[in-house]
Amino acid sequence: MTEKGVSVRDPLVIAGREFRSRLITGTGKYPSFEVMREAVVASECEMVTVAIRRIDLDAVGEAITDWLPEGVMLLPNTAGCQTAEEAVRVARLARAGGLPDWIKLEVIPDPRYLLPDGEETLRAAAQLVEEGFTVLPYVLPDPVLQRKLEQVGCATVMPLAAPIGSGRGLKLRHAIEIMVEQAQVPVIVDAGLGAPSHAAECMEMGADGVLVNTAIGMAGDPPAMARAFALAVEAGRMAYLAGIIEESKEARPSSPITGLVTQERA
């Protein structure tokens, strides 16, 4: 079994599209576009998120799209939107302007913890699916909401592990476990991961993928951290497929308990 072989035979499939990498990265918080590009290449990810913002007429500056490697799919997000209407407006603008008709749906009214509004997210998701978008909603880990989002036709559900940018890891594990267990569409753990071990934990648990931004963009060496996350995601996925042993309260010896050199009696 080769390292590459596993990922090739086990693609992440979202809305019929195959991705060899189960790591999606965000493009925010890098020290420069150049470092961002190096990190995206090092991560081997095939989809990156971007935000949509008005252009500052006094400082047009460089376009991020000029810095992204060829072949990497752009996933526009609706970050900054606080209602379903705002999110639908941003998605329509992005698609009309030539971006993919995939949208990472975020409806976040709470600035302190950046927690998503499930009700507004569901309303926007239903509208956007109706309009032909492939919708990837960012949600609190809520298995009931997951069902509803699946029913309206979302392509994934993206539960947060911990608040955005917090780096705290898989704090909401138990609820996400239930989501993984009952999933009809891929579960991509999004937000709150701080270290590659957190990503590996998500994948070992059976998540279909992870989305990472801050932990890579703000690392001391973002391209190296991007590579570390890629390896962790691959290791975690491989471990999940290989079958992780059941935990035991007591020790289970790894060496034979008979035939000891010091065993004098038969």
């Binding site: 965000g26 493009t27 925010g28 918080k29 890098y30 576009f33 961002m36 998120t49 971007v50 935000a51 949509i52 913002r53 008005r54 252009i55 500052d56 007429l57 047009v60 376009a63 991020i64 799209t65 752009l74 526009p76 997000n77 970050a79 407006r89 329509r92 603008l93 992005a94 698609r95 009309a96 302007g97 030539g98 971006l99 955005i164 940018g165 937000a191 989305l211 931004n213 801050t214």
Partner: protein, 66 residues
């Protein structure tokens, strides 16, 4: 002809299109996202959609984000 772009008043020649506006702003049409009077404009129509006096436009684009 005056139009409002991202809350700022700009003077454009008569019959200016969305494409003309983007050119004035020094933007490539690729991934310049345009909303005119609240309605998104299809990129394939940037060269055809003529602006009118008083139009309110939003010009946006993808930026770094998670």
């Amino acid at each position: 002809m005056k139009v409002i772009v991202n809350n700022r008043e700009l003077e454009l020649q008569p019959q200016a299109t969305v494409e003309t506006l983007l050119g004035e702003l020094g933007l490539q049409p690729r991934y310049a996202l345009v909303e005119r009077n609240g309605e998104p404009v299809e990129r394939s129509r940037y060269g055809q959609v003529e602006l009118r006096e008083g139009d309110r436009l939003v010009v946006a684009r993808p930026v770094a984000g998670g």
